[in-house]
Symmetry: C2
Subunit: 138 residues, 2 copies
Amino acid sequence: MDNQQIKDAGLKVTRPREKILGILERSGRRHLSAEDVYKELLTNGDDIGLATVYRVLTQFEGAGLVCRRHFETGQSVFELNSGDHHDHLVCVRCNRVVEFVDSVIEERQSAIAAQHGFHIEDHSLVIYGVCTDCAVKG
Amino acid sequence: MDNQQIKDAGLKVTRPREKILGILERSGRRHLSAEDVYKELLTNGDDIGLATVYRVLTQFEGAGLVCRRHFETGQSVFELNSGDHHDHLVCVRCNRVVEFVDSVIEERQSAIAAQHGFHIEDHSLVIYGVCTDCAVKG
DNA sequence: TAGCAAGATGCGAAAGCTTCTCAGTTGTCT
DNA sequence: AGACAACTGAGAAGCTTTCGCATCTTGCTA
Ligand SMILES: [Mn+2]
Ligand SMILES: [Mn+2]
Ligand SMILES: [Zn+2]
Ligand SMILES: [Zn+2]
């Protein structure tokens, strides 16, 4: 049950937190901006402030429940943390997001970091392009 | 001479443009934020507005003279366009930046994009970690 | 070289995203 | 139920970046 995840994070189970987690779990698009979540709440008739949405998403991130991504759209997007790392392909026309994992790339990254004496903490790989649908539509 | 690059970009040769290009060329740190450039101008006694710095950097970017990077520091950084693509390692402690190119990664990226029917336009790969110096300092 | 028009500049205002402040409310534990 | 820390909504504020506009320059022409 959702509530347990919230409790395990050391957070009180409140309506905003339940609703926001629910939206992230049930959303078809897996990558939502704070504004997206906020609008979804409004649509559902929930009277929750935008500041709370940001606060909760940040707390969920701190607790490892969600991941924050920085695509080049000007706003962060959030997704449930599946536990497995992955990278992203983003369509510059329609913003469709495709996820992928490539072990060859992961290995090369470790090698490169080591080679330069860096202790890797994280990395971000985003490929921007035009998806098939958008290519067809000209 | 610098002025030619500016002219070739279809821009008038003005003091702000000459100074900003000069700073990018002479800077030890190759990756500067607009604010960094602005402060450098102030230090040199040049009375150039921050808005102009942003405008000029954006124009230079459009002309292919500089590249804009989006590391996760909250502000964009700019560097002279060397003509050769490269990716970045960034130290999360001291912000040191190391550049690298890895053909294996580049190839895998093309393959992945193709595999998902994406026509690649661009990509951004940043590895975040702790550099040797910072690791030593605890 | 003087004059002109397009283009550039600096300033402050404003936009866009995100965080903060604070008074009032709610969840949790006893 | 009562106490208290935690949480919330609303608006103010913070930050980076862009805009609007009156004024100044550059590059060209006569
Ligand atoms: Mn994802
Ligand atoms: Mn670089
Ligand atoms: Zn698309
Ligand atoms: Zn460092």
